[in-house]
Every structure is written in structure tokens, then in C-alpha cells.
């Protein structure tokens, strides 16, 4: 709908919020672009809900500014913001029908009656709820309630739609379906969506960009691919997806690479690094389970890190298998392998002595 312009739709500038001396949001700065589907991802208590409530206007920041579409909205009450929120509990008015719920926001805006009817009908058709317009919320299923809440928040054509855990209350099957519907709807309408979630899968599949929050701060902002493949720190690496964390000591440096000695794996690992720290310094690297190849023979082709171990656990999921491999020192490395070839017999079994190897480029250097 609208072209992304240089000016971000939302500018959060060093926003801090404290409740009775407890800091919920700590000096957060964030730009959200026009037309983006942005996710704020974090575990419970990380401050994501507080940040959302400040965007909606239910909380005022202790310090910092929030600018929406060029206008400073820091102290503007919720009923005067071009922002709507879809509540996690949906918060549908129980005494109103679906039609009345969706029409409520337009009535408060004093839109003419005929236009209200038209826009509500249009919105109900968009979320496929037309036939249920006369029902009260307690006669709706969970998925239908979710769509009413969505329609009610979108009918005012907000510049920004906030969604608080939009899929959390749905069962798994419905969630997958709704996830794609939501992304589709956002694409059709071009409205900027900000989704707050604790579910990394939800954030990864829905969002064009993700901000990972931890302890009131932004740990990393990036596309799902960036956050997954290039986590900025240990927290993000551990929170998003499965990962093997490897502690070690720098043994040597050469040609933009360093050699890390890991006692736990009894191996020297090559890690790409532009400005390597001096020998002897402690470092942490990581590698994703799916980047590791497992084999009974020693890998032949070069430029790979290799570790030896014994298969302790094996989980067969049909499409893939998960292995837990133990090194001689007792450290566990997780490996996941796609079962590309059709065969009832696995090439690697319990108690097999195996070689684990991965490309040097797949090794993630974590600086903090």
C-alpha cells in the first residue's frame, strides 16, 4: 500500500519504564518501518508487554520518547492514538454482538451510521465472519473470537496494529493456519503490525524483523535469518532455536581465523574472526545442530571442524533424526540430520563411534 519511506513509522527513543523501583523496560531504542510485520520476542517478564502497553498508551514511559508517524505520542492517551491493540484475552465486549463489537470503535469516532455498517460488513467479510455478525461472543469458538478481536482492532484503519500474543490462546492446528492468515492479511492491508510473543516459531514465521528482548533491553534486532544464523550474543543464541555452546581458550591466530581449544570436546576448532583476541583468552562459540554432519567414517574434505564421540541417544522423527553424541569427557553435542534417503535402516545407530563435522563458516563466535 504505502512505500517504505526513510522516516520510520515508529521511533522509540531511549524509553525506560520503572514500576516501584523495578525496571521493566531499560533504555530501549527501536525503529519500526512502515508496512512492517515486526515481532518483539522474549520470555515472560522480559518487558515486552510493558513496551507494547507504552505503544498503545496504557503506560507512560518513565523517560524517553515514542514518536508515531512523526508525531510525539509519548503522553497521548490511548483513545487519541492512531494505534489499536488486539488483546491476548481478546477482551470482546460480552454484552454486544459481533457486529456491535466491531462497530464500537467507529461509533466512538462518530463515523456516519451508513459508513459504519459498510465498513463493519467489509471487515467481517475479510475475516470470514459475515454469517456470525449477530452472535454474542460467548457463542463463538476460540478461533472465531480471535478473528472478531482482529476485525475490531483493524476496522478503525490504525496506522499501527499491536497484537499481544495473538495465537497463544488457540490450539496448535488452528495456530498454524491462523499464522498464515494473519501474515496474508497484513500483506493485503499494508498496515504496520507489531506482534509481541514468547513463541520463537511464531515470531520467525510471521515477522519480517524481530527484536529479541531480555531483561528489559533489546538483545538483538534483525530478520529471522539474521537472528537465527548470526545471533549477537549468548542469550539470543540460546533463546532462538537449538544450539550447542562450546567454551574454549584461544590457542592461536592466523589469517583472520583463530584456533580455539575446547577441553570438553578435546578438539581444536577453527573460527573465522576479524579482530581475534590474544592467545589464552576465554571464548564461547556455538554451532546449530543441523549444521553438523554425523558419520562413522572420518570426513575427507577439508576446512571442517571435527569432533569425535559416541551416540548416546537417538530420536527418529521420520523426516529427521536427532542425535545426542557424547565425547570422551562427557560433553553432549546435539546433531540433527535430515533423512534424505529412503531406508528403514539408519546409517548411524546407538553406541556407534562417530565423527561430527561442520564447516568452519558455520561456527558462530559469541562475544558476550
Amino acid at each position: 500500500m504505502s512505500e517504505p519511506t526513510a522516516l520510520p513509522l515508529i521511533q522509540i527513543r531511549s524509553v525506560t519504564k520503572t514500576f516501584d523501583g523495578v525496571t521493566a523496560v531499560n533504555d530501549v531504542s527501536l525503529d519500526i518501518l512502515r508496512g512492517e510485520l515486526f515481532a518483539i520476542l522474549g520470555s515472560s517478564g522480559c518487558g515486552k508487554t510493558t513496551l507494547l502497553r507504552m505503544l498503545a498508551g496504557f503506560e507512560n514511559p518513565t523517560s524517553g520518547r515514542i514518536v508515531i508517524d512523526g508525531v510525539d505520542m509519548t503522553d497521548v492517551p490511548p483513545y487519541e492514538r492512531p494505534v489499536n491493540l488486539m488483546f491476548q484475552s481478546y477482551a470482546l465486549f460480552p454484552h454486544m454482538t459481533v457486529q456491535q463489537n466491531v462497530a464500537y470503535g467507529l461509533k466512538k469516532e462518530r463515523v456516519p451510521e451508513a459508513q459504519i455498517r459498510e465498513r463493519v460488513a467489509e471487515m467481517l467479510a475479510l475475516v470470514k465472519l459475515g454469517p456470525l455478525a449477530g452472535r454474542k461472543p460467548d457463542k463463538l469458538s476460540g478461533g472465531e473470537k480471535q478473528r472478531v478481536a482482529l476485525a475490531r482492532a483493524l476496522v478503525k484503519r490504525p496506522k499501527l496494529l499491536l497484537l499481544d500474543e495473538p495465537l497463544a490462546a488457540l490450539d496448535r492446528k488452528l495456530r498454524e493456519h491462523t499464522q498464515f492468515e494473519l501474515a496474508n492479511l497484513q500483506y493485503q492491508l499494508g498496515t504496520t503490525f507489531v506482534v509481541v510473543t514468547h513463541d520463537q516459531d511464531e515470531a520467525m514465521t510471521l515477522a519480517s524483523r524481530i527484536a529479541v528482548m531480555h531483561a528489559g533491553r533489546i538483545a538483538q534486532v534483525g530478520t529471522p535469518g539474521e537472528v537465527y544464523e548470526y545471533p549477537a550474543n549468548r542469550y539470543v543464541a540460546g533463546f532462538v532455536g537449538n544450539i550447542n555452546l562450546i567454551e574454549g581458550r584461544v590457542a592461536g591466530t592466523a589469517n583472520g581465523r583463530l584456533t580455539l581449544h575446547s577441553d570438553a570436546l578435546e578438539a581444536d576448532l577453527a573460527v573465522a574472526c576479524e579482530d581475534p583476541p590474544g592467545p589464552g583468552s576465554e571464548l564461547c562459540v556455538a554451532v546449530r545442530p543441523e549444521k553438523i554432519t554425523i558419520s562413522r567414517e572420518a570426513p575427507s574434505n577439508g576446512d571442517r571442524n571435527v569432533v569425535k564421540g559416541v551416540v548416546r541417544d537417538l530420536g527418529y522423527f521420520g523426516d529427521q533424526s536427532l542425535y545426542r553424541v557424547r565425547t570422551r569427557t562427557g560433553a553432549i553435542v546435539q546433531v540433527s540430520a535430515q533423512n534424505l534417503r529412503r531406508s528403514a535402516k539408519l546409517t548411524v545407530e546407538w553406541d556407534d563411534e562417530v565423527f561430527l563435522s561442520w564447516e568452519v563458516g558455520s561456527t558462530i563466535l559469541l562475544r558476550s
Binding site: 498503545a56 498508551g57 496504557f58 492517551p77 490511548p78 483513545y79 494505534v83 489499536n84 491493540l85 488483546f87 484475552s89 477482551a91 470482546l92 465486549f93 460480552p94 454484552h95 464500537y104 470503535g105 466512538k108 469516532e109 454474542k136 460467548d138 457463542k139 475490531r152 482492532a153 478503525k156
Partner: protein, 305 residues
């Protein structure tokens, strides 16, 4: 034929039936039976005897002779305009008292329901606390306060606001005050339990959709609290219509309430049949709002299931 496990189920079912039957038994014994006795007296003629009314079943020399029923007492109530006026006056007094209780009780219940849980308990205790003192004592206490030589008048004269005592006792004002004071908790408690249950996200949602605080209250809180309002109003209105003690103690000679008429008919005129007819009509007047409320509740229940 049934196995031991089935026998156990039968056993517990029997107990369940008994437990369910108990409230009905209670109603039968303490509500329906007295009502039937009153109804019986209301269709009898007054006589000077012990008891002072004719018997329903007539026994003669040859045994049972028939039933004796008269509607003269009811006809009397409708012919004599006096009773109609008093019924209306009682309904009016009860209605105004109920409205005053609602106007006072709603903000109080709302305030309590929005406090942190621990404070809520304390404030609710304060609402219930007066019940620990006898109702009669509390009404008498008002006499001491409102008297021409009472605490309030003495204080006002002492401060020089007034020079002669204001007549606050033995008039309708005192009766309204007494009823509102006595029945306010019955308004607050059902309202509180309704308002306390409300999902506060709904108010955030209303604000998010463009409603200011007052608007959100009118659009969301008020309609959702309607069952609490109706419950509280019935709990105040029904006993207030038949209230006897408060008008008797605080009211003046011109304060007409049906409870006093009932008393006079029973104990002064010793006309038990007319007194019974008065109370039967009162009951019929009060059953109408109760049935309306029941219908409203069952309709709401239906909507939920």
C-alpha cells in the same frame, strides 16, 4: 441385577436426591405452609371468638357440611381507597429508598472492587460490620442522633449554624434515612461481587477503541453490571415495601406504610381476615418483580449455554 459398583452409584444418587429435596422441604415448611394458613384466614369472616375468624371447613351435627369461603375482605381492600393509597405510598417509599441505595451503593461497590485485594477485604468487612449489632439497636441509635435534643441538633446549635432544633425525627426523612442506612449493604454486596468479577481488559479495549473513561464506564461497565444492579435492587426493594420497624420507630403519625397497617389490623382492630388479605395482596405485588427477574436470569443463562 445391578453389580456392586452400580449399587454405589444408586446410593450416592439417592443421597443427591435427598440433598436436592432439602431446600424444597424448607420452602414447603417455612414459606408455603404459613402462606396457606394466611390465605385461609384471608377468605374467612371475622368473628369475636378464639381464634377470631370463621373456620374454612364447616362441621355440623351430621358431620362435614362444606367449605366456607368469602372474598369480602379483598373486596373491602379495593373498595376502601385508604388501602390503595397506602400500598402506593409503600411502593413509592421503597422505590425511592432503593434508588437512593443504588446511587450511594454503586460508587461504593465500584470503589471497593477496584482496590487491591487486601484493602478490599477490609472495606467489605466495614460494610458487613453493622450486622454484628442488633438491627433494633441501630435504629434506636438514629433516634438519639436525630432527636430535637439529639447529637446532631445539639452540635449544630453549639456551632451556631442554627438557633432552634431542626425536626429530623418522626417524619418521612427519618424513614428514608433509616431504610437506606439499614439496607445499603444488601445493595453493595451483589454489586460488588458483579463488579469484582469484571475483566478489566474490557476497559482498556474501550479506551483503545476511542472511549474516554466516563464513556467506557457507560458503554461497558454499566451494562455488564446490570444483573448486580437488579439483584441489589430486589434485595432492598422487597423487604423495604413491607418494612415495619423503621417507620414505626422513626416515622411520624402521617407516615403510612403497609407494614404498620398490617400491624394495626392484627393487633389493634383484631381483624385477622383483613390483615391476612393485606399481606396476600402485598405478596402478589412483590411476586411480579421477582418473577420478572427470574425470567431475565434464565434468559441470560440460556444465552450462555
Amino acid at each position: 441385577m445391578s453389580g456392586p459398583s452400580n449399587g454405589g452409584a444408586d446410593h450416592s444418587l439417592r443421597w443427591l436426591k435427598r440433598a436436592v429435596a432439602f431446600p424444597y422441604f424448607w420452602l414447603l415448611l417455612f414459606f408455603l405452609a404459613p402462606f396457606l394458613i394466611i390465605l385461609k384466614i384471608s377468605v374467612a369472616d371475622p368473628i369475636i371468638a378464639q381464634p377470631p375468624f370463621t373456620s374454612l371447613l364447616q362441621w355440623g351435627e351430621h358431620g362435614f357440611e362444606g367449605i366456607r369461603v368469602t372474598f369480602a375482605n379483598f373486596a373491602f381492600l379495593f373498595q376502601d381507597g385508604y388501602y390503595g393509597i397506602i400500598y402506593l405510598a409503600s411502593l413509592k417509599m421503597a422505590a425511592i429508598s432503593t434508588l437512593l441505595c443504588l446511587l450511594l451503593g454503586y460508587p461504593m461497590a465500584y470503589y471497593i472492587a477496584r482496590q487491591p485485594p487486601q484493602r478490599r477485604q477490609l472495606l467489605l468487612l466495614a460494610v458487613i460490620l453493622p450486622f454484628w449489632i442488633s438491627f433494633l439497636l441501630r435504629v434506636y441509635a438514629w433516634i438519639g442522633l436525630l432527636n430535637n435534643r439529639g447529637v446532631i441538633n445539639d452540635f449544630l446549635i453549639w456551632t451556631g449554624v442554627i438557633h432552634a432544633p431542626i425536626q429530623m425525627l418522626y417524619n418521612d426523612f427519618a424513614v428514608y434515612l433509616g431504610i437506606v442506612y439499614s439496607y445499603l449493604p444488601f445493595m453493595i454486596l451483589p454489586l460488588y461481587s458483579n463488579l469484582e468479577r469484571m475483566d478489566l481488559d474490557l476497559l482498556d479495549a474501550a479506551a483503545d477503541l476511542g472511549a474516554r473513561r466516563w464513556r467506557a464506564f457507560v458503554d461497558v461497565t454499566l451494562p455488564i453490571s446490570v444483573p448486580g444492579i437488579i439483584g441489589g435492587c430486589l434485595l432492598v426493594f422487597i423487604p423495604a415495601v413491607g418494612e415495619f420497624t423503621i417507620p414505626a420507630l422513626l416515622g411520624g403519625a402521617d407516615t403510612l406504610m403497609i407494614g404498620r397497617v398490617l400491624w394495626d389490623e392484627f393487633f389493634i382492630n383484631r381483624d385477622w381476615p383483613v390483615a391476612s388479605a393485606v399481606s396476600v395482596v402485598l405478596l402478589l405485588l412483590l411476586i411480579a418483580p421477582i418473577m420478572w427477574f427470574q425470567r431475565l436470569q434464565s434468559r441470560e443463562h440460556e444465552a450462555k449455554s
